[in-house]
Structures are given as structure tokens and as C-alpha cells.
Symmetry: C2
Subunit: 343 residues, 2 copies
């Protein structure tokens, strides 16, 4: 590991230097670098020794220039800023993706497409081939950028099922519907009979599917649908607060609420406390996500855990496969009920 330790920045060693040091040709070094096929053990050894000695690191720009690949992927966020801040899931997802990519030595480029101008700039950047593929986080439907990328044949994996795009886009999602079903079944199993719901935005898959799961279970239990028990939020804390107030006004006899996100559930708890309802005695509250917020509430929140670690690793796996030429694919992962104090 004799590095170039004298101060200052001098030119880094090239494949040429390694070849000279090892007494072989550039071609042989390149072959060692790319899998080592058709290289004699002796040459292989010599090249590796030379790499260690010179401290050589491949110049990715030169490589990309010839291969046409960039060996990097973009992590694209088209959400409005606020969600990015408030939603702890993004953190977990971002970290998971970064790590999964790091295992393949692929850097992650973070891209935020908030405004229209940024959207255009980023589309241009991506379609110019500066990244090999895109991990897309954009739950809202009709996202124009996804459509453009798909049209440009850019390998793409969405987090959550994209509504709106009829065409084949890969995605990885938790089983929202089944998670909702499990939570509502749990609430019913506690003897609750007037179960309300605060949904997510109904132009997001999470919003639609979790509501569907709620309705299914109630129907299966033979309970008739009561629209006074259904309100919509936007996943934000305050919208949970407002939603709970509306529910209490419309259906004062409510004895449980299924809230489609932990953050909204925080708001629901606030509103219930203000209204003098005890949780879980008077009203049981179930969240969704198992975000850190679920532990920050009092009482701690019963919730549905989404397997974010697996979601991120699957997103990366599917994306890399697609970059490698495979077809688009959909992956749906199971959720898990986490019982705490609020039910």
C-alpha cells in the first residue's frame, strides 16, 4: 500500500503505469479489472500487486466514455419539499438505496425536482445518459417526469405503485391493502365497532389502497359502510388533526380510527386529547408506517410496519436488473402489525 504520500496533488496513476509496473500490457490489466477472464494466474497476480503498489484507482470517466454507461444512478424526488422533510420514511429509503448501491460500487446522485425548471433540467440530465437508471420517489399520479423518462427508455423503478401511468413501469411497494386489512381486523378484534379512517391523498397508491383494505374488512365483517367515518388527509400532521376533528363531529360514537400514516396519527392523538377522549380506552388509534414518530407519541402508536429496508434493496435489485437488460417487474412486500399502547 505504498501510496503517493508526498503532499500536494499529483497525477494519479493510470492503467498504463500499472501495466508497466506489472510487466504486462494495458489490455491485460483491463481484463483483470473487468472480471479477470482470459488472464493467466501469474499475470493476474502481478497486476494485482502492481495495483496495490501504485494505489491505482480506475478513472470512471474514461471508462464511461467508452462503455457508454455512467455506473451511477439517480435518486429522484418529485415530491413537494414539505413531505421530504416531514416524512421519516424518505430517510430510511434513501439510506437503504445508498447502501444497496454502494455494495455494487455505484454512487447515488440525489435529484430534487421541485419546480418546473428543475424538472426540465433534471429530465435533460437523465435522458442525456448521465445516469444509468433512476429510483423514483413520487407517489402522486400523473407525474410528467416519469412519463418522459419512460418514453426515453430510461431504466426506472418507482417506490410505490404509480397510478396513472398505464404503461409498464417497474415498482416496489409494501402491500398497502393487506396492511390496512390487518390493522382494521386488529381493531375489530378488540371489540371496536365504529371504526373511522383518515386516508392519505386519494391520488396516491397508499391513499387508495389503504382505504380499500379498510372497506374490504368492514364489508367482510358484515358492517355497513358509513361515509361519516371516512375522511381524507394529506399525510401531514395537521391534516390528521383536522381529520380527527371532522370525524368526531360527524361520528361522535367512533371508538377506533385507522390512520393511514403515523404522522397523521400524531395529529389525531392531539385532537383526541383536546376533545377529552382517552386513547385507547375511548378510541383506539392505529397508524401506518412504523416511523420513529410512532414511538414519540404518548401513548406509543400501534402501527403497520413497512419493510423499508427490503423495499430499498429490492428497488436497487430491480433497477440493476433492468439496466442489465431485463424486463420491468413489480415487487410487493408484506407488512407487519406492530402492537403498542394506542389500541
Amino acid at each position: 500500500m505504498t501510496m503517493n504520500s508526498s503532499g500536494g496533488r499529483r497525477k494519479p496513476p493510470t492503467i498504463h503505469d500499472v501495466a508497466r509496473e506489472a510487466g504486462v500490457s494495458r489490455g491485460t490489466v483491463s481484463r483483470v479489472l473487468n472480471g479477470g477472464h482470459y488472464v493467466s494466474p501469474a499475470a493476474h497476480e502481478a497486476v494485482n500487486a502492481a495495483i496495490r503498489k501504485t494505489g491505482y484507482v480506475v478513472n470512471r470517466h474514461a471508462r464511461s466514455l467508452i462503455t457508454g454507461r455512467s455506473d451511477s444512478v439517480g435518486f429522484l424526488l418529485t415530491e413537494p419539499q414539505e413531505r421530504f422533510f416531514e416524512d421519516p420514511n424518505f430517510n430510511v429509503l434513501l439510506r437503504g438505496c445508498t447502501q444497496a448501491l454502494a455494495a455494487h460500487d455505484i454512487p447515488l446522485l440525489l435529484m430534487l425536482a421541485g419546480t418546473e425548471g428543475e424538472r426540465r433540467r433534471i429530465t435533460r440530465y437523465i435522458t442525456a445518459g448521465h445516469v444509468d437508471g433512476v429510483l423514483l420517489v413520487s407517489s402522486h399520479s400523473g407525474d410528467p417526469i416519469a412519463e418522459q423518462l419512460r418514453a426515453a427508455d430510461v431504466p426506472l423503478v418507482a417506490c410505490g405503485k404509480p397510478i396513472g401511468l398505464g404503461s409498464r413501469v417497474s415498482y416496489v411497494a409494501a402491500d398497502d391493502r393487506d396492511g390496512a386489512r390487518e390493522m382494521v381486523r386488529h381493531l375489530l378484534s378488540l371489540g371496536r365497532r365504529r371504526v373511522g379512517v383518515v386516508t392519505g391523498p386519494l391520488d396516491t397508491p397508499g391513499g387508495v389502497e389503504r382505504l380499500a383494505g379498510y372497506r374490504e374488512v368492514l364489508a367482510e365483517a358484515g358492517m355497513e359502510a358509513d361515509e361519516r367515518l371516512v375522511v381524507s388527509g394529506d399525510y401531514s400532521r395537521v391534516s390528521g388533526e383536522l381529520g380527527a376533528e371532522r370525524l368526531l363531529a360527524q361520528a361522535p360514537d367512533m371508538d377506533a380510527v385507522f390512520v393511514a400514516s403515523d404522522l397523521m396519527a400524531q395529529g389525531v392523538l392531539t385532537a383526541l386529547e383536546r376533545a377529552g377522549r382517552r386513547v385507547p380506552q375511548d378510541v383506539a388509534v392505529g397508524g401506518f408506517d412504523d416511523s420513529p414518530a410512532a414511538l414519540a407519541t404518548r401513548p406509543e402508536l400501534t402501527t403497520i410496519r413497512q419493510p423499508w429496508d427490503r423495499i430499498s434493496s429490492e428497488m436497487v435489485r430491480v433497477l440493476l436488473a433492468q439496466i442489465g437488460g431485463e424486463e420491468a417487474a413489480a415487487v410487493i412486500l408484506p407488512t407487519e402489525l406492530v402492537k403498542r399502547e394506542s389500541t
Copy 2:
């Protein structure tokens, strides 16, 4: 904007295609791309038209190969994972940096150096020149990676004053000490006389400086130091909870606490509630950060706002200046007291 709209991926246009289309040489196109000096208005116009017509986008790999720059920067996180999740400041910082860089058309590469192996891999990646500079988020002292990068002459800007590295490293920080002073003065102005503190880790600048500010103000007010009023946390919620319990045990007459982060303040509120102390009537609580957590608590938290948007834009500004050849610099930005319900 006649793009290559037929499906499938074909070779993107090169500078050569643009030159042919515009009826000029590659050199002229290159000059237009890089500032447009020494180019006649007619040629300038023709080139721009040709760029629009062909949908040309510069190939950054080819450019990087010749210039030696990568036109990208790394955002390096050496914190252990947990902090990354829990601390909402990272989000704001990350977003701010990404946007500030986007204004210069510079992509941000997210790098997580949690384990020793990752640390080595990333150091290698960076020192190989794959990024032009690094935005470093690592409050703990004695971070070996910072030392290595500095030794390799990699442009570097830290978030928060790095302790430990004696050498000149650029950094941008909020005025921790002054913010702490302001909060403690505020608590004293409310008539509180037994003011406790839950510090951050004392190997971080935030931990040290905020404690120093606390001590200074108490000394200036002529109050004698009482070590029973001082405990340390690690910025996590639970450490705030434990810290408050210790304070209550050591100094039951405490009538105010300055907590060095909002997250820990959340824990402090939990512990105070459990102990039957009313906030702010019995004990006033002041946080630090003005993170979203400050609004999630009941009562809402009085806190010190750190100017994260300015911190991130300054970090980018200083880094780009340094990449451009300027000297290392330190920037300290003022904080602001945000009064809410907890004091």
C-alpha cells in the same frame, strides 16, 4: 426542440454533429459551450440553434476526462446511522445543499461511511478524484476520514466546527455559543433561577459550545455553577428522557432546563410529564434546532432556530470557492430565539 423522438435509445448527438449542423468547427461549438468568448454573434447564434435542433447535451464524462474535474461533489455522512434517521436537520441540510449545487448544475453524490469498510472505499473513491470536493457532516471529533481527505488536499467544507483537526479545514456553523446564551438569558428573564442543562455529546462542537454558552450566562448573572444541574446526552430522544430523570434526582428544585437539541427536549418533556411537573409552569424547557419535532410536542417547544438554509448555501459557496482555488474559510451564522409554549 426537435428531439430524437423515435423510441429506443440511439446514440446521442455529439459536439461534432452540432458543429456540422451549425456549419462551424468543433472548436467554435466548444467555445460557445464554455462561456462564448471569442465567438462572433453570428456563429454564436448558429451554434445555439444547432444545439436546440439536435437536442445536444454535453457529455460530462468526456469533458471530465480532459479537464480533470468531475463537476460533482460528495455529501459525506460519517455519523452512525441512527442520528441520520432521527435528526431532521440532516434532511434540511441535504436538501439545501442539493439545491444550491443544482443552481450550478453540479450533481450531489450521497456517501454514507458508517462502517470501516465503507470508510475505506469512500476515501479511495474521493481521493481518486471522482468528486471535486466534499461536504462533510461529521460532528464527532477525531474523524479519520476528514484527516485523510485534508492530507490528500481534497477541497472540504464541514458542517459545524470540527474539533480535533488542528489544521485548516473550512467549516460553516451556526453560532452555537451565542444561541445557547440567548436561550439561557431568556430563561433567566422569566425569573427562573435553577436552570439545568442537557448537553449534547462533549466530543461535538454543538455539545461543547452550547454548554459553554450556558455557563457563561450563568456566570455573568452572578450565579454559582452547580454541577448537579448539568448532564450530557447524545442528541437522541431517549437520552433526553434519561437526562431529565437524572436532573430531577440531582436537583429537584430545578425550574428550567436548556436542552441542546429538540429531539432530546422531546424526551425531557416526556420525563417531566411522568414526574408530574407541569411545563412551563413548574419547569420551563428550551430546545435547540427548531426542528419539526419542536412543533410536534405538547406544549410546543421554545427553541433556537439554526439557519439551515443559509448554512447549506454557505457550505456550497465556500466549497466551490475552494475548488476554484481559494483558501479555506470559516463562516459562523447567527441563530434566532423562537418563543413558543414551553417557556
